[in-house]
């Protein structure tokens, strides 16, 4: 079975830049109170959903691949912040791209949406089920954040954005050499949002739940950081081994975790220099499913990676999900 390759990659960050000072003010804190490993983040304008950001990322990816929307025969959308409760954001993107009656699969894999989506798309391409798959990832976190002094320690990490990749059969030695996907849900409450909740009866969320702020994301960063660092290191080793590569063969590492400081620390522990590693949340915040492909697309635009380079994308996030991909661009 032929490997799968990325024919084109695109990204879209909203134009509204939110600095740490601005976020501090919004949360009712002094300018110096927002010490954050995230430099800045981008917020979508009101009324803009993940599918709107994804349309722009998809057009950029199509342009780079020199393809038209009509060349796509399957759409896969990964998000944890869908446009509406249902149907999935893939349906909205499918319409906005004018894809006729092409199938649109929505998956939910939280921060690992891109790697899990790549794992799914890869099987469709390798088996010949679909030939040109558009994998879209997008999040609008900003509408779900707690902008109070109490919420600031979590909200400071999150940002909005989208990325899209067009996947097809590889020619030559380019393509996805290995994907590794893992879940261990035994402590999923370390990073979660409980409400709305179908297990709450008679109704999934009440005014009381809202007043008690049960609809906000909770993260136990102290408990999670050490685990995240270990899982990132392990999955990089596992994926390189499966790809038959050594650490030094990789031109650039893209490492994603909600706190970019942890991703930096992992790179340092593995002896990967700063010039060969991107901690994806550093400059754009945590955009969950879209963080890794946005960083890869930005690096591609900047000429930091180019065709023929071996890259490794690795991430860990809510679920707990973790995984990695090694790709010859």
């Amino acid at each position: 079975m032929p490997p799968t390759t990325i024919l084109g990659l695109g990204h879209r960050l909203p134009s509204w830049v939110v600095t740490n000072e601005e976020l501090a003010a919004r949360c009712g804190l002094g300018a110096d109170a927002m010490r954050s490993p995230v430099g800045q983040r981008y917020y979508a304008e009101p009324g803009i959903g993940p599918s709107d950001l994804a349309v722009e990322a998809a057009h950029m990816a199509l342009g780079r691949a020199k393809l038209e929307a009509q060349d796509i025969d399957f759409l896969l959308f990964a998000t944890m912040t869908p446009d509406v409760a249902f149907p999935g954001s893939g349906c909205y993107l499918q319409d906005k791209l004018g894809l006729g009656t092409v199938g649109a699969l929505d998956i939910r894999a939280q921060c690992l949406g891109f790697i899990f989506g790549l794992g799914v798309a890869e099987q469709f391409v390798r088996t010949g089920t679909y030939h040109r798959v558009l994998l879209a990832t997008a999040e609008v976190h900003s509408t779900g954040l707690d902008f109070s002094p109490k919420g600031a320690p979590v909200s400071r990490y999150f940002g909005d954005g989208a990325a899209a990749a067009i996947l097809s059969s590889a020619d030559g030695d380019r393509g996805v050499l290995a994907t590794v996907l893992h879940t261990d849900a035994s402590e999923y409450e370390r990073f979660w949002c409980e409400y709305p909740s179908s297990r709450q009866h008679p109704i999934r969320i009440t005014l009381e739940d809202l007043a008690a702020e049960r609809h906000y994301t909770r993260i136990d960063l102290d408990g999670l950081n050490r685990l995240a660092a270990r899982l990132l290191r392990e999955v990089i080793d596992e994926t390189l081994a499966r790809a038959g590569c050594r650490q030094g063969d990789v031109a650039h590492y893209f490492l994603h975790y909600v706190d970019p400081g942890v991703a930096r620390e992992v790179a340092a522990t593995l002896g990967i220099g700063r010039d060969r590693a991107t901690a994806t949340a550093e400059r754009t915040g945590h955009i969950a499913s879209a963080s890794l492909p946005i960083a890869l697309s930005q690096a591609w635009s900047a000429g930091a990676v180019r065709a023929g380079d071996l890259v490794c994308l690795a991430g860990v996030g809510a679920g707990i999900n973790w995984g990695a991909a090694v790709i010859r661009l």
């Binding site: 409760a85 999935g88 179908s198 999934r204």
Partner: protein, 338 residues
């Protein structure tokens, strides 16, 4: 490997679970202005199952999964991939598949949700099928599970939608097919997002700031409840169901006369009857159990498949078509040689 040489996937085991509490049409007439006659005449539904307090989709999924694993002779620890189709997740995040994984007492294999509404099971089946055919997985658990009852408007305002849905879960275990010509022959997935608003739940919505507020929860518009343009959905369903079954048959060089059993997503008995008529399939070649379960969206096909097997209506060598249509719009089919 050429496509024709790929080893196919098959369904190794099926299981289902519905919560014990049954709710009759008469029970619903106590909550809203409706009638037993109206519900039966329009939908064919006589009763449905609702969970009791604090049971979520993954709880139902776990029961169905245990039964499917037992039927397949598979241990949960041997699963390479967990897929869960739902539109009524237990919590906002992570995915209900994660909760299912913890319930099964296993870890390590990826767990993800498929969020494709009534077509969730067949979209998930296509994913699982591709993982098995490519060799990336040898054992895949796919569950469709829904707890609708915590998301319905049981006042007279919501009666057109609330009477339709039921809670339940169905599961299959997928693995490689050893017998030539058998297993999952093909899958066919479609969507048409221009009709997204015809059957949807509009809130919470990440494009609204804030995503959820008092008005969404308690306002007159009932924005947390499903909205359905019934006649519109009905008309499209009949057309697309028929079309996608024919597409699946044609892709394999087969015709409706070759079909042993059609198991449609249990959306509405009247839809299934019109699809059967359009395909010239006699009543015994179309499976229906919506009378007892209502519409359980992603769970309906595996529940129906399990009951069809239990009733002796599927035999080795039979040609079985699974088909769905629903919110999105999404629609799909899978053709299997049992």
């Amino acid at each position: 490997m050429a496509e024709s040489e790929q080893r196919r996937a098959r369904i190794l085991g099926v299981g289902h679970y519905v919560p014990p509490r049954t709710v009759s049409n008469a029970d619903l007439t106590a909550l809203m202005e409706t009638s037993e006659e109206w519900i039966v005449q329009r939908t064919g539904i006589e009763e449905r199952h609702f969970v009791d307090r604090n049971i979520g989709a993954a709880d139902l999924a776990l029961e169905a999964a245990h039964r499917a694993l037992e039927a397949a002779g598979t241990r949960a620890a041997d699963l390479d991939l967990l897929l869960l189709g739902t539109l009524s997740p237990d919590i906002d995040f992570p995915a209900s598949a994660c909760l299912l994984q913890r319930g099964l007492g296993v870890k390590g294999m990826p767990a993800l949700d498929v969020r494709n509404q009534c077509s969730g099971f067949l979209y998930g089946l296509a994913v699982g099928d591709a993982f098995v055919r490519s060799g990336a997985a040898r054992r895949v658990l796919l569950v469709g599970a829904e707890v609708h009852s915590s998301g319905l408007d049981f006042s007279t305002r919501g009666r057109d939608v609330a009477v339709i849905f039921g809670d339940g879960a169905g599961a299959v275990v997928l693995g490689p097919e050893e017998r030539p010509g058998h297993g999952i022959l093909s899958t066919h997935l479609h969507a048409e997002g221009r009709y997204a608003a015809k059957l949807c739940v509009e809130a919470p919505s990440s494009r609204c700031a804030p995503r959820i507020d008092e008005e969404m929860i308690a306002g007159e518009a009932g924005r947390l409840f499903p909205k359905m343009h019934g006649s519109y959905v009905f008309r499209h369903a009949v057309t697309r169901f028929t079309e996608v079954v024919q597409e699946a048959l044609a892709a394999n060089g087969l015709a409706a006369t070759d079909l042993s059993l059609l198991i449609p997503h249990q959306a509405n008995l009247r839809i299934s009857q019109l699809v059967a008529a359009g395909l010239e399939l006699s009543e015994e070649r179309v499976f229906s159990n919506i009378q007892r379960y209502g519409n359980t969206t992603a769970a309906s096909i595996p529940i129906a498949l399990d009951e069809a097997l239990g009733a002796g209506r599927v035999h080795p060598g039979d040609l079985v078509c699974l088909a769905s249509f629903g919110s999105g719009f999404t629609w799909a089919a899978a053709l299997l040689r049992w």
